[in-house]
Amino acid sequence: MARVGVFICHCGENIARTVDCARVAEYAATLPGVAHAVDYRYMCSDPGQRLIETAIREHGLTGVVVASCSPHMHEVTFRRTVARAGLNPFLCEMANIREQCSWVHEDREAATAKACELVRLMVEKVKWNTALEPIHVPVTRKALVIGGGIAGIQAALDIANGGREVILVEKGPSIGGHMAQLSETFPTLDCSQCIMTPRMVEVKNHPNITLYTYAEVEKVDGYIGNFAVTIRKKARCVDEALCTGCGECQSKCPQGKLKTSVIPNEFDLGLSRRPAIYVPFPQAVPNVPVIDKEHCRYFQDGKCGVCQKVCPAKAVDFTQTDQVVTEQVGAIVVATGYDVMSSGEYGEYGGGRYPDVIDGLQFERLLSASGPTGGEVKRPSDGKVPETVVFIACAGSRDRSHGVPYCSKICCMYTAKHAMLYKHKVHHGQAYVFYMDIRAGGKNYDEFVRRAIEEEGAVYLRGRVSRLYQKDGQLIVKGADTLSGQPVEIAADLVVLATAIQARPGSDALAQMLKVPYDGYGFLSEAHPKLRPVETNSAGVYLAGACQAPKDIPETVAQASAAASKVLGLFSMEQMEREPTVSVVNERTCIGCFDCERVCPFGAIEHREIRDRRGNLLKVVSHVNEGVCAGCGACATTCRSGSIELRGYTDEQVFAQIAAVGV
């Protein structure tokens, strides 16, 4: 019979007040297999733990039951105590006689009786516990970062600077993401290009970082420490090695004559045009153009080929094909960023009908020196400098009827910035801001907004815009000013909608590929909002930036560094240590129906062939990949013949507890 030690804690008065701990200890001593039972005032205190350690050594205990608080509180503590005394930590169980007994049952008699039962349950269970050693899984100490925005760049640099190799994959022709499109950034108004371009170059030149641009992740196999990622590098039709970035091809491309070109420039959100062979923006990294096959005359009707002729470095190669590469990585950071809801979604604000109703990102391009108007604020319709600009906050966010009930968090700040920058550019201009509430909770944020109002003279009107219509060249904005209680009507030259931040289209497909859950809006779900914000339920996959939820640049960079630290933490060990409570297959009785494989949410079940000595195949059975198994036990419940067991919650252990209730 096992030699179990039972240790009843008073927890000061918390347990002792309604549970007669002495009587429980007395009762425990009578249980079959219990070699030692004692109660003490504070079992988790230092003397309490020492009491357990000495008892283990003195009585040669083979199992320990600590009856005290919830295992969520001190299971780790007591398992460490037990380990110090030389007993395997998994031979220690806790009976929850505080949260689930003394605190919820006033009647002393009933509480004591129940405490006794809970102790008996755990004593019976611990007899069937087996010593378990942590599982060691080899780790490929190379990381993959998906998405080349500021989040991806920061994470890649941190990991690379941590001495580990990184593969950065960016879908577009250049890294930079949405931040590259911004003019200046709140609250310090430092120019986004100035603070970001050096980082982008650093990424390009960093020995530890392999950069794949114009490339997408197609398939992810494997598990934490051993991912095999298939990446498709789309054909740029320009050889990155040869191209010097001189820009000849762009200027000569017939499709590209700025005035006549019909191709909207995605980087400028359609406010400018670009040639068929293009670099999204001057500071692009890598500064290597890409041929847009839909609009290139060579690909559409076989004529032209001017870019190839003029290219001094002979870098243009129309025959280039997609390249598919497989990389072995140990961890993946998802930094795929966000998208802005298009102003066209807002019918009542004339979105999509009036050219001078634009969204925040388009206004950023107008403000940006590298933008379509060289930094001068000119309205898209006729290029006039607008004297009156109306900014409408919460255009799409916090609006259930548009399917975006959440607050996009950054619009209040960039709207104040827009009002301020507009004033800097058009001194005599007047900015109006319709808002519901101003959310400026960051460091120096509220001061920034106060400056926009008090120093830059932006008129903040608390109220919703009900209607907006065009009348002889101006946009009549009808709204209400709830503070003065008066309806308001403003004739504006330009209206900027602070539209909602949404998840990238296709983020759900990526999430399914990575087996990461995502919410109803397409944002990827973190493992725990407070305790594990940058981790996911899929071990080895981390999140950074707006792909997890709308957030500003400071928070994004913080998350990127956090994700990087998690990756570096994982890579700090040769072997990764994982909880040993995983499933194991009894290969003699498994018949290979693989129902377990169908129910395993983590794809932890593999096929293993059983061969006899001469090598001919006897049968194919299930095998649990201990690196991937999360210990949920769905397989153990589904297996009809009971051929797969979850360690820590084996059939024997549960059976013993149920049988103990029957006594």
């Binding site: 019979m1 009578t30 249980l31 079959p32 019976e124 013993a656 049988a659 103990a660 029957g662 006594v663």
Partner: protein
């Protein structure tokens, strides 16, 4: 002088016997099949021809019984004998084949005094011995043996007396049951209810010839010897290819006596249970290491045949099969032991 019991007086006789005994076990109809049950009122008993779905073996060798109870408290264990009901059990309606089967059960469970000097002291099954002593068998001869019956092929008869304490043979033409007391228990039974019996000089020869005439199965005489040499014979493979490996044939058989012993209970205690087992199951002889002396289903069916037709006669001097035909009627795939033995030794 044979005794006779008027057909109408049978129920009175049985009611009287029931008063003296603890219980009267007899065949009744239940959910469309005929089984031996302890009857409340004698009217429930069915006297129709043919046999029950399985024999009254479980009156003496129950399908599951507790050998002892154990209580676990602290480090110690307390053992406790199971309580066994006292009092006479009378089994009525036992067909001659079933009654003859008792000889096997007696030989295995209560060898009482078979002198075997250099063997370790014989171990009897006390439970079986007590029940056997407190059981009286009133046999009922068969007039219309069924298609699966082959008692005559194994040297028995539809009107045989072996195993019964008192055998009643229905003589429909004379409207009586011919009563033959086979043992002193039978004598005592006749004496106790003498008023119901009258002397008669009728005999059962004619009934016996008629009944035996209905069995067309070929005799299996002296098969023990040839079977000894046929362990490796090829036919087992074909003959038993379709056997599914269940325990139906063993559990309906009046002579099968194999059992398993398991502890059932929980942390506070429980009981050690002995219950029916069958050599047909794969796990019957499997070692925990995975080695199984009888790895294939034909090997297991061979054990069933050899155990009945060679080992039991050789070791205990009793015929292992009484030809009741139940295993043939019950087997889902019609494994026919009489056909197999005939083919293997033929």
């Amino acid at each position: 002088m044979a005794k006779a019991l008027r057909t109408e007086a049978l129920l009175d006789f049985l009611r009287a016997v029931q008063q003296d005994a603890r219980r009267l076990v007899a065949p009744v109809e239940e959910d469309g099949l005929r089984l031996f049950r302890a009857v409340d009122r004698v009217e429930e008993i069915t006297l129709a021809e043919g046999n029950t779905r399985w024999s009254f073996k479980e009156v003496l060798f129950p399908r599951s019984e507790a050998l002892f109870h154990y209580r676990l408290s602290g480090g110690s264990v307390a053992l406790q004998e199971p309580d066994q009901p006292e009092g006479e059990t009378v089994v009525f309606g036992a067909r001659p084949c079933d009654a003859a089967g008792l000889a096997v059960l007696d030989a295995v469970f209560a060898p009482n005094g078979r002198p075997d000097p250099d063997q370790a002291p014989e171990h009897e099954d006390p439970f079986y011995r007590r029940r056997r002593a407190q059981t009286t068998i009133i046999g009922l001869a068969c007039l219309e043996p069924g298609p699966a019956c082959f008692c005559t092929a194994v040297g028995l008869s539809p009107t045989g007396t072996a195993g019964s304490d008192l055998l009643l043979t229905p003589l429909p033409d004379q409207g009586v049951f011919l009563a033959e007391a086979v043992t002193e228990k039978g004598e005592r039974l006749l004496a106790a209810h003498a008023h119901l019996f009258t002397d008669t000089d009728d005999t059962k020869e004619q009934a016996t010839r008629a009944a035996e005439g209905r069995i067309q199965r070929t005799a299996l005489s002296g098969v023990g010897g040839p079977l000894a040499t046929l362990f490796e014979a090829p036919p087992w493979e074909e003959l038993a290819a379709r056997c599914l490996g269940c325990g139906a044939c063993a559990f309906v058989c009046p002579t099968c006596h194999c059992f398993d012993i398991v502890d059932e209970g929980n942390a506070a205690g429980g009981s050690r249970c002995k219950f029916w087992d069958s050599c047909g199951f794969a796990l019957f002889t499997a070692h925990t290491s995975g080695h199984n002396p009888r790895a294939t289903q034909p090997a297991r069916f061979r054990q069933r045949v050899l155990h009945k037709f060679r080992y039991l006669p050789e070791r205990f001097g009793v015929q292992g099969c009484v030809g009741c035909g139940r295993c043939i009627a019950t087997c889902p795939v019609n494994m026919d032991i009489q056909e197999v033995v005939a083919k293997v030794t033929g």
